[in-house]
């Protein structure tokens, strides 16, 4: 990997800006046969829950135009097995790992952060606030600034100061900038934009919802324009907060689009299901695209689409790095 593609998410330096998105790279073992995992900017885990969860019954997925609808129900082995079995394997392979956490209450988020604290091999913690909040009749944390902020604060408080905490937001909100501001204010060092968007498909054979979950999350290239918009709007408001752009990245030019909008790195999700070699290919294509545009360092491309915008939106400085607090 050339220096051209080096990037950083705050203090976290990455040799490549192309990561896997949470929940889309399996445990890492499934991708390993296809390419050297060392070529990953980072591997993001499936959101880890406190308890083992089988998730929803099948069908959990439906194909939609240029997209996928999934309602997984947050399946996973639970943090104990994750720490015993999955994380050590990634550490062994020398894979930079971003651990995604999913809680169903603020307390659960705090507990997860606590369990993870000091565990070696955690490059960053991502907080999946697109989780149903049992304390709020199952509404997603990500839809309400205060709820999202509470989840972030719980994880930030429980995590070592040197370890970046990223807030992963969903686009199903009237104003994603407000939610982003609340999360950064609550201590998020960076943002991952975006999670899937709520959609639905009906099986025209059975005349019933195609997914057991009734509605599900829309991902894939269909979603990309929404991801670009969210990254652009949030970067305009928070130009100093690092962003991982996610949503429909399938080619190097897609990655470049998110970077120009303001992302410092991109995560590939659904494209992995279509093309297990997507990450190294996107990286190669991005490298070529930067070279063709004579952009010597990726950092020079971050947010470039904002310049020379006629109208400069109000800018907000990010919070200062927090001092360690007692958890």
């Amino acid at each position: 990997m050339s220096d051209r593609v080096r990037t950083a998410l705050g203090p976290l330096e990455l040799p490549s800006p192309v990561l896997t998105a949470a929940g889309c790279g399996g445990t890492g073992r499934e991708l390993a046969p296809f390419f050297d995992l060392g070529r990953l900017g980072a591997f993001t885990t499936t959101s880890v829950t406190a308890q083992p969860r089988a998730g929803r019954p099948t069908p959990r997925v439906a194909e939609t135009p240029s997209g996928l609808l999934t309602a997984m129900g947050m399946p996973g082995p639970g943090i104990e097995t994750f720490l015993e079995r999955d994380l050590p394997w990634l550490v062994e392979q020398d894979v930079r790992t971003i651990v995604s956490l999913a809680g169903h209450s603020v307390e659960e988020f705090a507990e997860l952060a606590h369990r993870l604290r000091g565990v070696p091999g955690v490059a960053a913690v991502e907080v999946n606030v697109a989780c149903p909040n049992v304390a709020d009749r199952g509404r997603m944390f990500a839809r309400h600034p205060a709820a999202a902020a509470a989840a972030i604060r719980a994880v930030r408080d429980g995590t070592r100061p040197g370890t970046p905490v990223l807030a992963k937001l969903a686009p199903d909100a009237t104003d994603i900038v407000t939610i982003a501001l609340a999360c950064v204010d609550a201590g998020a060092d960076g943002l991952t934009l975006i999670n899937t968007m709520e959609g639905m498909a009906i099986d025209t054979g059975t005349l019933r919802p195609a997914l057991t979950g009734v509605s599900g999350g829309l991902s894939g290239p269909a979603l990309r324009p929404v991801a670009v918009r969210c990254v652009y709007q949030v970067h305009a408001a928070l130009p100093h907060t690092p962003i991982i752009g996610t949503g429909g990245v399938a080619t190097g030019l897609d990655a470049l689009e998110l970077i120009l909008a303001g992302a410092s790195a991109v995560a590939v999700g659904t494209a992995l299901f279509h093309d297990p070699l997507a990450v190294p290919r996107v990286l190669r294509e991005l490298e070529e695209a930067l070279a063709a545009r004579r952009i010597e360092r990726l950092a020079d491309a971050v947010g470039l689409a904002h310049r020379p915008a006629g109208f400069v939106p109000p800018q907000v400085r990010p919070h200062e790095p927090e001092k360690e607090r007692t958890p």
């Binding site: 099948t58 999934t70 399946p75």
Partner: protein, 295 residues
């Protein structure tokens, strides 16, 4: 690394009509060389500008060494994805990933094997038969389906197998009847030691049950379940989960693609397919409150 899957651009060699099906032979040396019976390939459909992101999976009917290595798949073109495939012509390119999944476990000794199937899925049995025969096993085919259209390879089975029984509900080919009428008889007559199955889920369940009653092991490929539920074929997406109980008695949700598609029939909880059994590891203790799809 020769047992790991690859992604490759395969060249279409020929597309032939076989009964109501299309048989497509593809030049894909890296896949042919790695392939073991029971594994499958996953094809990207719709071309370079496709809006369809889910690969379509196909069992491999035959592997040959021509042109460095070819694989043949068999399919009906009734649906959009396979309809597109059927429109490909010689010299076109097809993006393939494979071989994927766990193969049929092969007997160490030259024992008697019954290979049971129906629909285009039965195609996989012929690659298996080939390998078993080369190992000196006896191969007995039992092909079943509602009518002739749904039974692939009846003539081929007669040619290749030591014996071959065909049964259709309407008697349009072979005997009139169902698998229940034929399989126990064939198992008894041939004195087979193991049963292999590939086809619709109901068929697999019947195979498992009949084999179980006779105390025989069964190896079945849950292709149909995988097709209805999966999105990647490579074990990444976790959508193709089915309940399987392990030796420790604990039921776990496993992936049909990466932990299968070939599973021990007696391990699959056939009645609970499409559910999370309450006693499965990680099953919800109460129905969780969720707003739309939690991700």
């Amino acid at each position: 690394m020769s047992d790991t899957p690859v992604q490759t651009s395969a060249t279409v060699l020929t597309v032939r009509q076989v009964q109501d099906y299309h048989a497509m032979t593809l030049v894909a040396p890296a896949i042919a060389e790695r392939f073991r019976p029971g594994q499958f390939v996953a094809a990207a459909v719709g071309g370079a500008h496709t809006a369809r992101l889910v690969r379509r999976c196909f069992g491999v009917h035959e592997v040959k060494s021509d042109y460095g290595g070819t694989v043949e798949v068999v399919f009906a073109d009734t649906e959009p994805g396979t309809g597109w495939l059927a429109g490909l012509r010689s010299r076109d390119q097809l993006d393939l990933v494979g071989p994927l999944g766990r193969p049929f476990r092969l007997p160490r000794d030259p024992v008697g094997c019954v290979l049971t199937g129906g629909g285009p899925g039965a195609a996989s049995l012929f690659a298996l038969a080939d390998t078993l025969l080369r190992r000196g096993c006896k191969v007995h085919f039992v092909l079943a389906g509602p009518s002739a259209r749904q039974v692939f390879g009846s003539r081929m089975a007669q040619r290749v197998g030591d014996t071959a029984a065909i049964v259709t509900e309407d008697g349009s080919v072979g005997e009139e009847g169902t698998l229940d009428d034929v399989l126990p008889r064939v198992l008894q007559e041939t004195g087979a030691d193991v049963v292999y199955g590939c086809g619709p889920t109901d068929l697999l369940r019947t195979i498992t049950q009949i084999a179980g009653e006779l105390g025989l092991p069964s190896q079945v490929s849950v292709e149909e379940f995988l097709q209805r539920t999966g999105a990647c074929g490579t074990g990444l997406c976790m959508t193709c989960m089915l309940p399987v109980h392990g030796e420790d008695g604990v039921t776990r949700m496993v992936r049909a693609c990466a932990d299968g598609p070939v599973l021990r029939g007696d391990r699959v909880r056939w009645s609970d397919l499409g559910t999370i059994p309450f006693d499965a590891l990680g099953a919800p203790r109460v129905l969780s409150v969720t707003e739309g799809g939690s991700r």
